[in-house]
């Protein structure tokens, strides 16, 4: 018969990687993502004896993770607010996929926290609108609005990037030589 401790160990091992990926998409920084996941899992372990297994521990820890992230962003918003974003010209890189990931990470960084969370939960975790609303603690309508605005911003940034690339003579396929 498995004890609570065994169950906790199994749960941590099974969910850490998945949560770490979500946390990275949320915050864009590996170390910070590690910190968020540790906090979310630690809180889940503390609450483990009273958790309603029927509700789903996965849903619970996901909600904790997003809440920890949003709280961290709120705290940072007034005492750790960046005064400027480093502007980097898209370097011509043979590794287009790497460049694409880097661009997406920067694009996500520019989204407001709740928009970013909605985009990650809907388009990475494939949560339904209702499930996303449960995690974010808001209505389905708010989820629709957040994810729609998040997507629109990402698309706008993609258009800007494409226009800049054309201006510099760089296409997604490679350098266009005159």
């Amino acid at each position: 018969m498995r004890t609570d401790d065994d169950e906790v160990t199994a749960f941590v091992r099974a969910s850490h990687s998945r949560l770490l990926r979500v946390a990275f998409l949320l915050c864009g920084d590996v170390d910070h993502a590690e910190d968020l996941v540790q906090t979310a899992l630690a809180k889940t372990i503390v609450a483990w004896p009273r958790l309603d297994r029927a509700e789903g521990v996965d849903a619970y820890v996901q909600r904790i993770l997003v809440n920890v992230y949003l709280s961290a962003r709120r705290r940072r918003s007034w005492w750790e607010r960046p005064f400027a974003h480093m502007v980097e010209e898209p370097a011509r890189d043979a590794y287009a996929a790497v460049e694409q990931r880097d661009w997406l990470r920067r694009a996500l960084d520019r989204l407001p926290a709740r928009q970013r969370a909605a985009v990650v939960l809907r388009f990475h975790q494939d949560l339904s609108e209702q499930a996303t609303a449960d995690v974010l603690g808001c209505s389905v309508g708010t989820v629709k609005s957040l994810s729609s605005r998040g997507l629109r911003t990402l698309r706008q940034q993609a258009d800007d990037k494409e226009a800049a690339s054309r201006r510099d003579g760089i296409t997604e396929e490679g350098v266009r030589y005159a």
Binding site: V12, H16, V30, A42, K43, V46, R105, V119, F123, R155
Partner: protein, 424 residues
């Protein structure tokens, strides 16, 4: 990257770049332990803070909610209460003792071992002294003194009673319309009756109510702070129609009728109801020697009837109810003083002989009073007989009354006897 599919793919590729680091399990467990420790500390601190708040709140609120009443030990045959009201006025007390000693008809002088309960000036009323002491026979007495406004505010003895039971008494009072003029003379002022009340130590509030006037007409009536109060009442108010309530914080300690017995006041003699029918009551008297035909029988809410027969052998009296055909009395409306004659018709009371005229207005609910012959005054101690059942038409000379006393529930009445019959 414009379509949702491209974004999903991009997010998946971006997320795939991170991998769990070595030792993450231990880190998670350490952090969980830190959270547990922190929560325990916070819980303990919160519990301590809550306990402190509860204890502080209890200390602050408990005295106001209900101070402990500690019975004051009797001072021999006297109440052992500390003096009440403002600072004791030794000059007033000396003047009161002098008046007590010199008053003819009171207990024999001189008085000794005089203990004041009150000796102070009361705003808008004047000096009040309530004192205990032995008379020359060594009997313990309780006396009340107020000023005679017609005689340069000289202190005058108003009541001289046997001292009350020092172990059981919670309040002493004097309700009378004879507290401001010469001894034994009722005030003619509408607000000419006063209630002087002194309660046991520990009482924080006193309330004086009367059924002789509507509460809405009273000026400043209500709760009074402290254990000594002088309350102004309408001159139809008497001891039997006055109720005194004492509070310690919010707790009611006593609710009792006022005490009368000022010099010149009628004496209310209690009588138990032993029989009743549509027309009359038969009452039992402990001592019927002072009861005479024509005297009024009253209850707290108003007039019950008039004594029509006294059987000294049986120690019983017959009282014609105000609704009986044998009852007739001059009456007048309260405040507007519209006169008339009330008489019973067998099942109700009607006021007749109301003069016609612009000033003879009686509206529904108006209080109608009957003078008490024992008062030797038409207005002092007049008893409420009932209220007008409906508005009186301008051309009408009669109006029906709704009695204020529910005779069906009466178990005891007070028969008002004249002061000459009152024994000391």
């Amino acid at each position: 990257m414009r379509s949702e599919t491209q974004i999903r793919q991009g997010l998946a590729e971006l997320a795939d770049t991170v991998r769990s680091r070595e030792g993450y399990e231990a880190n998670v467990r350490k952090r969980a332990q830190r959270i547990r420790t922190r929560r325990r500390v916070v819980s303990a601190a919160a519990a301590a803070a809550c306990l402190a708040v509860v204890v502080s709140a209890f200390r602050i609120l408990a005295p106001a909610a209900g101070p402990q009443l500690v019975a004051t030990p009797p001072d021999g045959p006297f109440l052992g209460w500390a003096s009440a009201g403002d600072a004791l006025d030794a000059g007033l007390l000396a003047e009161a003792v002098k008046a007590w000693d010199s008053t003819s008809g009171s207990s024999a002088s001189p008085h000794s071992a005089v203990r004041p309960l009150v000796a102070t000036q009361v705003p808008y009323f004047g000096p009040v002294v309530v004192a205990q002491g032995y008379d020359s026979d060594g009997a313990p007495r309780l006396s009340f003194f107020t000023a005679d406004r017609s005689n340069g505010s000289a202190l005058t003895l108003r009541a001289d009673r046997p001292a009350p039971d020092p172990a059981q008494t919670q309040v002493v009072s004097l309700v009378s319309s004879r507290l401001t003029g010469p001894s034994g003379v009722a005030s003619s002022d509408y607000w000419g009756t006063y209630a002087i009340v002194v309660a046991m130590p520990g009482l924080t509030k006193l309330q004086v109510d009367t059924t002789a006037i509507d509460q809405t007409l009273r000026q400043g009536g209500g709760l009074d702070n402290g254990r000594f109060v002088v309350e102004e009442l309408s001159n139809s108010s008497t001891a039997p129609t006055t109720t005194i309530t004492g509070y310690a914080g919010t707790r009611t300690v006593f609710k009792t009728a006022g005490e009368g017995g000022a010099v010149g006041d009628p004496l209310a003699v209690s009588a138990a109801v032993v029989h009743r029918d549509q027309q009359q009551l038969t009452v039992s008297l402990a001592d019927g020697r002072t009861i005479r035909e024509g005297q009024l029988a009253v209850a707290r809410d108003g007039l019950v009837g008039r004594v029509t027969a006294v059987d000294q052998d049986k120690k019983q009296a017959t009282i014609a109810l105000i609704t009986s055909t044998a009852f007739v009395s001059p009456v007048y409306t309260n405040i507007s003083n519209v006169p008339g004659t009330a008489h019973g018709t067998g099942d109700k009371v009607v006021v007749e002989n109301i003069p016609l005229g612009e000033k003879s207005i009686i509206n529904e609910g108006n209080r109608v009073l009957a003078p008490d012959p024992a008062q030797r005054s038409d207005t002092a101690g007049a008893v409420t007989i009932g209220r007008a059942t409906r508005d009186k038409p301008n051309d009408a000379t009669t109006v029906e009354l709704t009695p204020t006393v529910d005779v069906a529930k009466l178990t005891e009445v007070q028969i008002m006897t004249p002061p000459a019959a009152a024994s000391r």
